[in-house]
Symmetry: C3
Subunit: 344 residues, 3 copies
């Protein structure tokens, strides 16, 4: 439980109203009750603020005038402030040192490490202080897990891969599976190319549930510091991702593509192989990126959803778009050429 | 082994032909042989019925006249009847009570529960009668698993999550991983928002292999009674899904979206965040839903597949569709305005 | 370490230059140093060849003239040759016979088999010689794993399923989960159809991390010899895939679809149910296939990615494409019918 003035002393911002109000939980405006600290990050929810039972609210300076008589913390970025308060109220799990009797551990580990039941750690593994290895996880020969990192239950980190410090890897993630590399013989038979690179993951990286990151074929697959990967993402061999890039669920990135820093990639987007995406690119959900991007900005390719009957009527024409363009050109020719206001 | 009249006594319908015929297995019309009961759910397979070696067939009344001299069960919905016979012939696995010696169980469990090798069950877990926890599964602290539910091998149910009664959760599913929630600092660094909600799953829910359902950020993620989720689905934090909605494989649903009851969502569809989809909506395979849907019906957005060379020719024009519309408008203006039969 | 003439004696091809050069590793042209053997498979990387520090290079005959004074192996397909050398330098893991003390094994297994910690093998399982079962994997009752196959850590093979010889199954893959089969009652409740078929996988098949393959409803789901499946693929019940077909990551294939031999399916493609795709078909990345394909060739359906503002401008028209076609038709009618060069 914290008083508002205590929060401001720790995290910055200013109190408006009664600084002795105490809060013990964060909540949404809708759900908040007595003892709850809510936040208003988006002006469009202003009406919810009026109805909220929150004991106090985090607001931006420009909204303060609208908040009559409420205890507030005023800060330039309420959502970021909310994140910091939420971390204060809900600290990350701390390692409970010890190795479970049903774990198989073939490497020396620091005394501060927590290793759950059913874990297997092979030879030559290096594990940093205060690491948590959740139940049923596997760490292959020669892998390294940095200080303060937490593997949730049932994570797989395969031979030789490196996970940095203060990372979180969620359940079912697989780091270091073989890349998809084959040469084709006459007749169509595939000959496997051994995948001898590693996966190297930086610090403060979060990797979602059932996400897969393949090891490099010859060189490494690299995920930069501060990247955040959601669930069920597939990262192919030799992909390189810059710092602080965030990738939403179900994205697939094909082999040898390079992605810059601070990119944001929407859910179910796909990026084909051997491309280069520069820094600060935003890819909309569901977009297939089939060529390199050299200028920062937002990129999109998706279809408008329609009632099925409209879709049938409109989209049948897509098969004949070239013919339609030809018909327009023909009409223009009959009228003496395209109007100069309408190039293309 | 059942006689047709025994089946009808249990499951309804009427026998046509020899009621003493015995069947012991269900099969497709193509594969059926002696002792097999097949079904005809779709008139277009009528020709297969003539050639089938099935001992008996489940048919609808309107087809009966076409079935010369065969033993039949006549019912309004042959496919539903077939499902019930198949359940009778292939009953669900029953718990073999006991806790395997290689399981780690830190909560009391009823005597009727089956717990396989490599399972880990943490503190404060509540498990109902006749639950089956498959090999290598993990149930986190404070979770609840309802009576009669079966977790297949290698399922993860994380701290505090609730799975209802008579559910089936398939291998590799992850329930309760952290939602993807971060606030962004200046400079692009992401600050994690602790995810303190739960996943709450109703009764008679089935969850496919490697499907992931994230816990809510502050409130819960909720899956209604009777929902059926296929493999490799991603459900983000704070999604709420109504009763008896069925979702096919590889679908992604982004955060805080609400989906109604009795919806059917096709494979690889995506629904972006913060939308509301009403009851009885059908989304076609591969469709990206980017706005709320307020009327029941079928919705679609996908492209017609074409030979690659046709696609190159037709789809190049998509980049210039706005210019093409301008050219048509220009032609219309030269002719004295658009024809009144063709608005738009 | 091998001399070039030793390599040629084993693998074919011819040496050009100093046949006594020794190499001990394969590498890319860019990364190669002393002792490394690189390859030039694509003429567009010719400039990298000039700068490479590789001790020797695998090249095609037509490139040989451009390679001044370097030790080379000359062969018709440098990439395929590279694959074979890479296998020679990086042999596949060999079973270290033995059953880990923390494994639960309820079937007899050959002495040559390696079984890791946390593995569970149920009754009536047949395992061939020199099989490796990685840590935490599960093999259900009555399953069969062929000689020389390797299951990576945390693989699930469920009851009755068959994996052939010399296969590799990567971490998190699930083979034999229930197909998604339900009949619908009035009111919308779903009745489960028991899934009693198996998954039958041929020889020399590779299955990627977190890929899921459902068992058949009545008949089997079948993956032919030599197929290569990447990560996070979903194969529904009763799918049948011919020999040597390769499928990239995140593909979904719906129920009862048949795919021919030697097909190549790009990443995130989808194929709806009950279709038939003939041999030697190539599906581009991100393409949704919604009808059967009866002629070999390349098939595509995807949108060109655009800056978001262009996309907004161009794609708004897609909702009105039918109206646009009507406007063009109206213009044509006013001019005396469509030009005969532009049908459609």
């Amino acid at each position: 439980m914290f008083r508002l003035d205590e929060l401001v002393a720790r995290l910055g911002g200013e109190v408006s109203g009664d600084a002795s109000v105490t809060v013990r939980r964060v909540a949404t405006l809708d759900q908040a009750g007595d003892g709850d600290l809510a936040f208003l990050a988006n002006r469009k929810y202003l009406s919810r603020l009026q109805d909220s039972a929150a004991s106090a609210v985090i607001v931006a300076p420009e909204v303060l005038a609208l908040v009559k008589g409420r205890a507030c913390i005023v800060t330039g970025d309420p959502y970021l402030y909310f994140a910091r308060v939420a971390q204060l109220f809900n600290p990350a799990p701390v390692a409970q040192p010890g190795i479970h009797a049903l774990a198989s551990v073939a490497s020396p580990v620091p005394a501060s490490v927590e290793i759950g039941p059913g874990v297997s750690i092979e030879e030559d593994v290096e594990i940093g202080d205060e690491v948590i290895i959740g139940a049923g996880s596997h760490v292959g020969r020669g892998a390294r897990i940095g200080r303060g990192t937490r593997l949730a239950p049932r994570v797989t980190v395969l031979d030789g891969c490196v996970v940095g410090e203060d990372c979180i890897v969620h359940s079912g993630a697989v780091i270091g599976s073989d890349g998809f590399g084959f040469a084709r013989e006459k007749g169509g038979r595939w000959v496997k190319i051994p995948q001898v690179g590693r996966v190297v993951i930086g610090n403060q990286v979060e990797i979602g549930a059932n996400t897969t990151i393949d090891r490099g074929a010859l060189d490494d697959t690299v995920i930069g510091d501060g990247c955040k990967l959601d669930n069920q993402i597939q990262i192919a061999h030799n992909v390189r991702i810059g710092e602080c890039t965030a990738i939403a669920g179900c994205v697939g990135i094909a082999g040898s593509t390079t992605i810059g820093a601070r990119c944001m990639i929407g859910g179910q987007a796909g990026i084909i192989g051997h491309l280069s995406i520069c820094d600060d690119v935003v890819i909309s959900a569901g977009t297939l990126v089939s060529k390199s991007i050299t200028r920062s900005g937002v990129y999109t390719a998706s279809l408008p959803v329609q009632p099925h009957s409209d879709w049938v009527r409109n989209f049948a024409h897509l098969r004949h778009l070239d013919a339609l363009v030809g018909r327009v050109r023909s009409l223009e020719n009959q009228q003496g050429g395209p109007d100069d206001r309408n190039p293309g």
